[in-house]
Amino acid sequence: MRPAVLVLRNALGTALWLGLALLARLARLAGSLPDRAIQGLMDLWADLLAATTWRGRLLGLALLPVLVTLPGWAGPATLSVMISALWFAYVGQAWNLMAGFAGRFSLGHCLFVGLGAYLAAGLFLHHGVGPWPGLLLSVPAAAAMGALVGALGCRRGLGPVHFALITLVFVELARLAAGHLEWSGGLDGLVLPPPSQPGNAPLALRGTPALFYYVILAMAGLALALCRLLTGSATGYRWRAAREDPAAAAAAGVDVHRARISAMAVSAALTAPAGMFQAFYAGALAPDQLFSLTRSVEILLGPVVGGVGTLFGPVLGALVVSPLGDALSDLSARYLSSGGGHDLSALRPFCYGAVLAAVALLLPGGLWPWLARKLRLTPPPGAGGPP
């Protein structure tokens, strides 16, 4: 079969198969919703208990009220930093699906964020579609895009380096496309009009920062739960096997190529809502901002620092890195305004680079495993807990 047809068939086939599998699952779920939901939550709870020692549980219990009541006691600056951090925790978790479970480093996740953002903003501005209904289009679109990138980028003979470079090419194409289509506002991008009434409107995603905070907090929590469920599922097992040793996995019956494509599709689908959130939170999108290497690096910095492939790594990493990034931006802005000669806007990506190199050299497993061991938050390996 001609290669082009093969690749498209792979991408389409996996996307369709995923879609059908999802529908089948949802149908079964709907049939037994209450039981399934309760069982699922109980499983998750049991998992969480198994994954933590009493210290870990204590820490979790202490943190939870802090997080939930944050808008009540934190100032606007802190709130903004926390929203940013949680956003990166969410997106990092999605990126982690691909890197940690499919074993492929994507340098182009800003592609899916941008796709979600542009679709959300565009649908709202041009067609009056609200943010949540808009997801019905943007999530499958992102999944299809992810499947395409996976099908093309994970072909036989293409290694992780090829994949990384290919994601960069896709980002560039997206940037060019967004910058030259009328629907996406061309080089100026899109701007969402300010809300017509003050006050919170969760369904329209307009309101105070506190609203956005709770939305992203819920999203981050759901992402965490989803990733945990995926890890323990049959698909998750196949993903992990494909990542650990593709040849041995194939010998055990795992279709490694399809596993990688489906991991990419799910990762992309999970990322799209973050784009939607960004569009409505920031209120403006521009192609050069959204589709840049720095954006992609910001997304992967959390998981890499926190620990690729672990459950809590991306969260920890994002909570550590995001405030630092904001502080650096602040620093360079203040330097500029106080009359300093140099434009320090490159300082932030420079520091990101330094952090990446340092982590790669010194703490490749990431911060979370090290911290968890030191503080004894999780049981030692072999007691059957998740990473």
Binding site: G232, S233, A234, Y237, R238, R240, A241, E244, D245, A247, A248, A249, A250, A251, A252, G253, V254, D255, V256, G309, P381, G382, A383, G384
Partner: protein
């Protein structure tokens, strides 16, 4: 040629070097066949060809009548071919149990049942008790057994074992021989194994194929000691 597996005139070269040359052999159902030969004879390549890692340059490979030459490894596995590796390849970051669960998921999509099948595969190989430990911590004997458990969990019709006895201590050697002999009794399972020493191979089977420089030198029929 009848039987479960039939190779006819299979050849394979890599960059001009002929690894396997015009090999024909057959493996009947419920039998053990050994391929014996020195290092570099092409034993692993032959297994790789059957398992789908490489595509033969010439010849046919049939499993139960179906042409399987060139099928990717996961498809071959789906059709009932399982294999172990010369140097065992566990999934290092996963537990012993999870290693086998991955394989069991091929036949049992439900996690709970797959887990049960995995433990059933680990039990006779003595790994069930330690199943929650990371696979990376196993010694050579443990890794070989894990490889085998993983292969068996896919409920194969044909088991390809690449030097299953190499690197084992005397005690484990004997235990593995006993286990493999017991496997032969299983309905519907055939084993094709490679082994450097024909004498050792004779402990397991009566059909030994001698391979050297990629070609079949001789096919022996030996009396297996009781």
């Amino acid at each position: 040629m009848t039987g479960l597996l039939a190779l006819e005139a299979v050849s394979k070269s890599f960059s001009g070097v002929r690894a396997v040359e015009d090999v024909s052999l057959s493996v009947p159902g419920s039998a053990i066949v050994a391929i014996a030969g020195p290092n570099g004879a092409g034993k692993t390549t032959l297994l790789d060809l059957i398992a789908g890692v490489h595509r033969p340059d010439a010849g046919t490979i049939r499993l139960g009548g179906t042409d399987i030459a060139g099928l990717p490894p996961h498809r071959a596995c789906g059709l009932g071919i399982a294999r172990t590796f010369q140097r065992p390849r566990p999934f290092p970051g996963m537990t012993i149990e999870d290693n086998v669960v991955v394989a069991a998921l091929l036949r049992e999509p439900e996690m709970a049942i797959a887990r049960r099948r995995a433990l059933e595969a680990l039990e006779p190989l003595g790994l069930a008790a330690a199943c929650g430990l990371p696979a990376a911590g196993l010694d050579m004997s443990g890794r070989k057994r894990l490889d085998l458990a993983r292969a068996l969990a896919t409920r194969p019709r044909l088991l390809l074992l690449d030097e299953p006895l190499a690197g084992l201590s005397a005690v484990d050697h004997g235990a593995m021989i006993d286990f493999l002999r017991a496997l032969k009794g299983r309905r519907g399972l055939s084993i094709l194994l490679t082994e450097r020493d024909p004498g050792v191979a004779a402990l397991l089977t009566d059909r030994i194929v001698l391979l050297d420089h990629g070609e079949i030198v001789e096919t022996l029929s030996v009396q297996v000691p009781a």
